[in-house]
Amino acid sequence: MKEIIAIIRPKKIEHTKDALDELGFPSVTAIPVLGRGNQRGIAGELGIDIRPDAVAQGRSAGMKDMKYIPKRLLSLIVCDEDVDEIVEAIIKVNQTDQIGDGKIFICPVDDAIRVRTDEQGDSAIK
């Protein structure tokens, strides 16, 4: 069993959910998070226009780029054999070729339990 943690653009959440639905993995946990990547936060990420002179003014006053950028964290627990398929789907939907598309992490999970029925292991997540 693996946990897929994908940190993606908030705008792309609907498309990602649709794509996962089509593959047959409708269960996800989504958390609004703040973060930054290797580029240390870039103001253009938000999709709103910030006046260039305002940005320049901020930079000259010693302010750096944005501290954090709003993102959405998706977490899915899936069986080992489904990981590649889901990762591919997430990448396909979220690629915009611009910085800030996000990262995907794959972590091992020891066990899962469905609270309603007490099922354990793979049957709890299917």
Binding site: K2, L34, G35, R40, N94, Q95, D101, K103, I106
Partner: protein, 105 residues
């Protein structure tokens, strides 16, 4: 690769992220969370606060950098009182950049 999840005081979060930035760890994710520890929240006068506001900082680093990051977080988030937080380290098998589809951080 390891994922480091540090639950720290909200007022210490910026100090931690700035410290990490100085050390060259720019990428991180910050989540507002609520929780309690061994002290079961705090009681101020007659009011009991069961869950306290904290910030979880999530950062994935290569194995050799883990100790350095932990040391930094410990140093920056330390006040010596109850509620300074906890750090958890878990294994990450794979990391993928969505834009390029490349493996690795």
């Amino acid at each position: 690769m390891k994922m480091i999840r540090a639950i720290v005081r909200p007022e210490a979060a910026d100090a931690v992220t700035e410290g990490l930035e100085e050390a060259g760890f720019f990428s991180l994710t910050k989540i507002n969370v609520f929780g309690r520890g061994k002290q079961k929240g705090i009681t101020v006068g007659a009011t009991h606060y069961d869950e306290l506001s904290k910030i979880m900082i999530m950062i994935v680093v290569e194995d050799p950098s883990v100790d350095q990051v932990i040391k930094l977080i410990k140093y920056k988030a330390y006040t010596g009182n109850y509620g300074d937080g906890k750090i958890f380290i878990t294994n990450v098998e794979k990391a993928i950049t969505v834009r390029t589809g490349e493996k690795g951080l």
